[in-house]
Symmetry: C2
Subunit: 386 residues, 2 copies
Amino acid sequence: MSELLGGKQRLPELMPLMKETSETAVWICSHWELQGCTAADCNAVLKALQPVFQEQGMTETVHNWEDHGYLATYIQKNGSFANLRIYPHGLVLVDLQSYNDQTKGREETDRLLDKVEERMKELFHGNIKRVKRLPAILRGGAIDRYWPTADGRLVEYDIDEVVYDEDSPFQNIKILHSKQFGNILILSGDVNLAESDLAYTQAIMGSGKENYAGKEVLILGGGDGGILYEIVKLKPKMVTMVEIDQMVIDGCKKYMRKTCGDVLDNLKGECYQVLIEDCIPVLKRYAKEGRMFDYVINDLTAVPISTSPEEDSTWEFLRLILDLSMKVLKQDGKYFTQGNCINLTDALTLYEEQLSRLYCPVEFSKEIVCVPSYMELWVFYTIWKK
Amino acid sequence: MSELLGGKQRLPELMPLMKETSETAVWICSHWELQGCTAADCNAVLKALQPVFQEQGMTETVHNWEDHGYLATYIQKNGSFANLRIYPHGLVLVDLQSYNDQTKGREETDRLLDKVEERMKELFHGNIKRVKRLPAILRGGAIDRYWPTADGRLVEYDIDEVVYDEDSPFQNIKILHSKQFGNILILSGDVNLAESDLAYTQAIMGSGKENYAGKEVLILGGGDGGILYEIVKLKPKMVTMVEIDQMVIDGCKKYMRKTCGDVLDNLKGECYQVLIEDCIPVLKRYAKEGRMFDYVINDLTAVPISTSPEEDSTWEFLRLILDLSMKVLKQDGKYFTQGNCINLTDALTLYEEQLSRLYCPVEFSKEIVCVPSYMELWVFYTIWKK
């Protein structure tokens, strides 16, 4: 039971109340795992917990599966309800949903769950193998805190404000404020970059091992301005950034200034220019003109938003970009890109297979980087011509 | 709707199946937010979705609150069930629970939710403001993936194996394997350190700015061996580590070797010793003997497990440790410790207040560090005598 004491709380503290935003459905899920449970025990759980809900004035509906245990549903006059699901092998789930502002909803459900917990302890004290109450899940409010990781895990962000939310012709653009990460750019549901994520920008620039002074650099995508801002500080000869979506630039120059500084205030500076274009035709034009770069940095979003007809599949799109990029990359130049989260090993392998299918032979290295707002480790690639 | 396309999936990939472990209750939560919803619409949702569930052979129970909308419960013969909760202002929640091995449970619920989604789109196409389906929540299995952050957020880890799980006289000790972070030490439910977390060890050693060569170092706690292992490499004169819990050392020396190397294989080495003791009496002894250290590193767990009678509260315990540590710290020595997650500002402020109440005047600085397995930014303190 000692695991109930913890939580990663290193110093004593009253849990801070997240900024209230609007009314929300609050779903609190808890469960108990019992040892050596029999059919009689299942019934005992039901009988023991019934009064706890009934004391709250909740009305009960019970379904008995016989061989699959019980589901009891308890309904409160104010619109709240609870599910009590008892599985025959001793898993007891109590889930409560209330609709209220966050604080009141949590208090109501927490209070009821405390009573359930007390009863369960009285009844099964020695036989409770594990108890778990998950943090409240908030649904339907103005702020969506749940942005799953690339490998499909549920993670809750400490979002307290929707700063920007617009649909461009290409994608949905959100900028949400996180208490710890600052503003986060989310493109079509995909956490792109937070103001805390200099680690991302540094990794996709070669982790401090490159000398950009006097160099020609091409950035594909990069609408948050982070790479452009960092490279311009290093006195390059010329940086060309090709971003398809003006609205990403508009949002970021206003709300991601810790990332982009003032670099997006003008689309042209002393040593940089930003082209608002699809990068495929630009790459083709440069290849035709024989224009060459010391560095090509691919910071495009995953789901391609180019409208070029060539690509039949995402992989072909990625290969097209790679092939065109190699055509404009000097023989001793370097191509940097982000890959994927470290857990998506199949995708990473497939990506590396594409690298062996380019028009010219290339070699690559990879690096694993912790990007604070991603909540998962991310793989970055460096690619160069053999 | 574009946000449905995304997920932080940068490269195309079939979602990998997490290693199956045991039968689990799979809870899939989804919701739709409708614009301009009327009472008639609520009823229309109910009527439209009823056949979807009934086609699955599910039996229905409907509760109509009149002023709070509907709850329909659908029960499947195999023990699965669904809640359809319709709130009058247009929030529609469909939550399904099945009990099955993970893959089958997910497929079943996903299939049903796809059908619900189709019907909702047919019915309310232009008026759906937001759709959200959360990743499946798995409960009651052998592996618990949910270890909330210090600021109380729900996060799911990619745990695929329980490596060690024992109760010591002091705490519950778990070592769980994460696909991306390696083995993670969890003490009484508190994520302490993963094999990926060299950033933690570096931060609590002063972020590479200290010269440990020839120095006297005292580590309080630190049973995972990470600090000891890293400092011993730097040729100190002598490191003394005081860890109360032999079982933490036993678990870590076996399963956290990427963190501790071979340093815990012996409790004594050329330039270090590990004392299995409560650090309070040790500190008192050292203070009495006039033993002084160049560095004191406090790596104790948050919830104190000392049995000393002096501390009435956690804050007093923390102050006692600080006072005793200052007594054994050389005038030009440094005291390092981890603080808390950056969001728990009240706890951080309270901690800093303690620093002004020590027997001797001190100054401090703090640093914010991203520890990969924490999924939140963490504050580290350096404290020195004025």
